[in-house]
């Protein structure tokens, strides 16, 4: 397949991902057409894209239009059709049927779904459509987060897959991994497992305490429950429920949505996007309140009492001694340390056990966790604490030891393929 020419149609231009994708494509010099149901919505998307790109002149590359007036004509001449509609499979299928009738035979069609079945979306479409269709999962916000998953459907032509990867890497500056078509793919499957497990634990231990014990010092830009507030409780619920309904793996229990989240979503508490209702945290001016999951009420936020090993990990990270931080985590005593190890080793075990099932390699898992989530790559965590120690800690916590970790412990080799400059930015103080 020849390299894709630089014209893209974005369906769902008014959504966050549609506008973000427009900024990314236009930034790479693509001519972009943003389509929405109504013209003013598409134009609002264009304004959002300009804000994301911080560029008044983005409009040089971007036009707005509507599904009613422009979809058929624009899709017929685009080389890439990028779907960023709501995460409803029926809606997506309806649009793909329309695109199938009007697209150019050699155009690439991609869905930005964050975890629905790619094969299901392609079912019933023409041979040409299925050969040219795949998932391109950009993370939010795409102009900042560069991790990207590419998910072929069973009929995607190998040359289409290569052209899509080449476009994403070469022109859009993405960090790309190719994954299998399993619910939530790699990044969200692993990330939401960890976040939901922390949300479950918060019922017993409290929100502020959990976010402190498994906070940024454990290798993440943002504490887990604050992250759920950022992505939205509704999105969290959709992803977790989808994995629970479609996967039965060793961490099945971790995908049970806590009842308090279910109640919160029903009541309209969706996190940061519903500031008055709140989520785990509720902010008004300078005052911060924190949810009590047991009662559903909010209490004034009080910083947890400092805990020795947590503070020592922070100080190690602050000075760039990431091995010291991981040694501290591995050896600290007490129930708080057990809790932190349960979450961190649970992450390492679950993430690296996805190799072969949904991810191609350890390095792919490392790439998507560090560039999609801004979390420390699990391979680097294992190297920093020592593979033997990692095996021992997994076994002690009753976690499945990933074959790659077991092999690294036996043969004494490193798991992470880069150097400290590649993961240092994921350890926070």
């Amino acid at each position: 397949m020849k390299p894709l020419s630089k014209s893209v149609v974005i369906l769902g231009a008014n959504g966050t991902m549609g506008a973000g994708a427009a900024a990314v494509f236009a930034g790479a010099g693509y001519n972009v057409v943003m389509l929405a149901r109504e013209r003013d919505k598409a134009e609002a998307g264009l304004e959002a894209a300009k804000r994301a790109a911080r560029a008044d002149a983005l409009g040089e590359f971007v036009r707005a239009g509507t599904y009613g007036a422009d979809l058929e004509r624009e899709c017929a001449r685009a080389s890439v059709i990028f779907e960023a509609l709501a995460e409803e499979i029926g809606l997506k299928r309806e649009f793909f049927a329309r695109v199938d009738r009007c697209r150019a035979d050699d155009s690439l069609v991609a869905t930005n779904s964050s975890g629905l079945s790619i094969a299901e979306m392609a079912r019933g479409r023409s041979d040409s459509f299925r050969r040219h269709f795949l998932g391109i999962h950009l993370y939010n916000p795409p102009h900042i987060i560069v991790g990207t998953e590419v998910i072929p459907n069973p009929d995607t032509a190998p040359e289409v897959l290569s052209a899509a990867v080449a476009m994403l890497r070469g022109q859009l500056n993405r960090k790309v991994i190719v994954t299998r078509d399993r619910p939530a793919f790699v990044g969200n499957r692993v990330g939401f497992k960890v976040m939901n497990e922390v949300a479950q634990l918060a019922e017993h231990y409290g929100v502020a305490f959990l976010d402190y014990v498994v906070g940024p010092q454990t290798g993440r830009a943002m504490a887990p429950l604050a992250t759920i507030d950022l992505v939205g409780w509704d999105v969290h619920k959709a992803i977790v429920d989808n994995v629970r309904a479609n996967c039965r793996d060793e961490a099945y229990q971790c995908f049970t949505l806590p009842a308090y989240i279910e109640r919160g979503v029903t009541a309209g508490s969706l996190g940061d996007k519903t500031p008055a209702m709140g989520g785990f945290y509720r902010r008004e001016g300078k005052s911060v309140e924190v949810l009590n999951p047991a009662t559903g009420g909010y209490e004034p936020y009080a910083a947890p009492e400092p805990i020795g090993f947590v503070e020592r990990m922070r100080e190690h990270n602050r000075m760039g001694r990431y091995g010291g931080a991981m040694a501290e985590l591995a050896s600290a005593e007490g129930p708080e340390a057990e809790l932190a190890r349960r979450v961190v080793m649970g992450y390492v075990s679950y993430a690296l056990n996805r190799v072969g099932e949904v991810a191609e390699s350890t390095s792919d898992v490392d790439t998507i966790m560090s560039f999609g989530f801004n979390w420390a790559p699990p391979g680097a965590i294992v190297d920093l604490m020592g593979a033997r120690r990692a095996v021992e800690l997994c076994e002690r916590a009753g976690l499945a030891v990933p074959p790659a970790v077991e092999s690294a412990a036996r043969k004494g080799h490193k798991l992470f393929s880069g150097c400290v400059l590649d993961y240092g930015r994921t350890f926070f103080a």
Binding site: A23, P216, R314, G320, L421, G424, R425
Partner: protein, 409 residues
């Protein structure tokens, strides 16, 4: 006999990082870069005999002086190592390189680590702009000026305009080329940002005028960054080549250097150069000296240049000062596309200070690292094909301290 100075490689941090947001002390990223540099260059800590650290204003940005001592935090082996810190504003990194080179040429040491480092995202832009004003004559030309350096480099453009004529569209083109090159550099600060020539030409909500003719798109970035390189004597380089199964001739050397200082005040520079064909004659002389010491006749013997584009006007100045065009005719090189990748003399394949970022004290070392990558064919997606000899220009203040190098095998 004076030993030639060899470059054994190095590493840099990702200039898109924000160390404050990571909660980091600058020593964290200095350690990361130094450790990665030793791994990549395959040098053991015990082989390093001295360290030179270039930094502009850690006292202001991070309330910390004596940055040389922080190199000891990288590895316990460095305890007792002779180290020093160097400052000449944006040329601090090059001054550190020159000092390390002098150590090797004098035969004092066979190896030197050169570190450039600046942490700038600790303060808001107005405070940072004021700090940068200390690179000029603060009391006379910067105190009380909102963004003194954009103002001074806007005046450099004005001086070109007065003497030769200057259209701002040429400056916009320089900006667009740097942003475009940066997209291929995995450590460039702006690699995921949007920029187009049209955007650089127009003034708007996101591309405001900062001072004079300088808009946001004409400026280099506020950057947290560090870079580390290793320099070595011929004796060490020969052993190093042997153990790595290489020829000594395969290791790049600093073939020539130039170093000149002009009066710190911009007005005096301009007054001094009134009857000179070059607007910044001391910068021109630093470049000429580097050519002479390298034994080359001129810019046509270079494969490319990493230059100091703290503002688009400084790259505009570099074009004629390198001799790519006659004085005052830099616009010709822009019109003909000569400075672009794949053309006659690519400038800033890395994206330069505008695209790659400008952690002030680290810039000279970052430039030298990029020049090393170019002549060893290891610059990846921003490699200038077949590069064997590269030029470099790093300036401090408003053209005050000029350091030029020619690097090749």
């Amino acid at each position: 006999m004076v030993s030639p100075v060899y470059i054994l490689g190095g590493a840099q941090s990702d200039f898109a990082r924000n160390w404050t947001k990571e909660g980091k002390h600058f020593v964290a990223v200095m350690r990361e870069a130094a450790i990665a540099a030793m791994e990549q260059a395959k040098i053991e800590p015990r082989e390093i005999e001295t360290a030179h650290v270039g930094n502009f204003a850690a006292e202001l940005y991070a309330k910390q002086g004596q940055l040389n001592a922080f190199f000891l935090e990288v590895d316990p082996v460095f305890s007792g190592l002779p180290t020093s810190r160097h400052e000449a504003a944006c040329a601090s990194g090059s001054i550190a390189i020159l000092a390390a080179s002098a150590d090797i040429e004098a035969g004092r040491y066979d190896t030197a680590a050169v570190v450039g480092l600046e942490q700038m995202k600790t303060v808001d832009s107005a405070t940072g702009g004021d700090f940068l004003g200390t690179a000029g004559w603060y009391e006379r030309e910067c105190k009380g000026v909102a963004y003194p350096f954009p103002a001074l480099f806007g005046r450099l453009g004005d001086e070109y305009d007065k003497r030769f004529g200057l259209k701002d569209e040429y400056l916009a083109h320089i900006s667009a080329v740097n942003y475009s090159n940066a997209k291929r550099n995995p450590n460039a600060q702006t690699r995921t940002w949007f920029m187009s020539e049209g955007n650089a030409q127009q003034t708007g909500k996101f591309n405001q005028v900062i001072a004079g003719r300088i808009k946001v798109s004409d400026c280099s970035q506020v950057t947290d960054g560090t870079a580390v390189i290793f320099l070595a004597s011929e004796k060490f380089a020969a052993e190093y080549a042997k153990r790595r199964g290489m020829q000594l001739s395969g290791i790049p050397r600093i073939l020539g250097w130039g170093h000149h200082t002009a009066p710190i005040e911009f007005d005096r520079k301009v007054a001094e150069s009134r009857d000179n064909p070059y607007v910044l004659p001391h910068t021109r002389q630093a470049i000429v000296d580097s050519f002479k010491r390298a034994g080359i006749a001129g810019v046509e013997q270079l494969s490319g240049i990493e230059t100091h584009d703290c503002f688009t006007t400084s790259e505009y100045m570099a074009i004629d000062h390198f001799g790519i065009t006659k004085p005052g005719e830099s616009w010709k090189a822009i019109e003909e596309g000569w400075i672009e990748m794949g053309s006659r003399i690519p400038m800033n394949p890395s994206g330069g200070l505008i695209g790659a970022g400008h952690p002030v004290g680290a810039t000279g070392v970052r430039q030298m690292l990029d020049v090393y990558k170019q002549v060893t064919g290891t610059a990846g997606d921003y490699q200038v094909e077949g590069a064997n000899r590269f030029g470099m220009l790093n300036i401090g203040g408003s053209g005050t301290t000029s350091c030029a190098f020619v690097v090749g095998k």
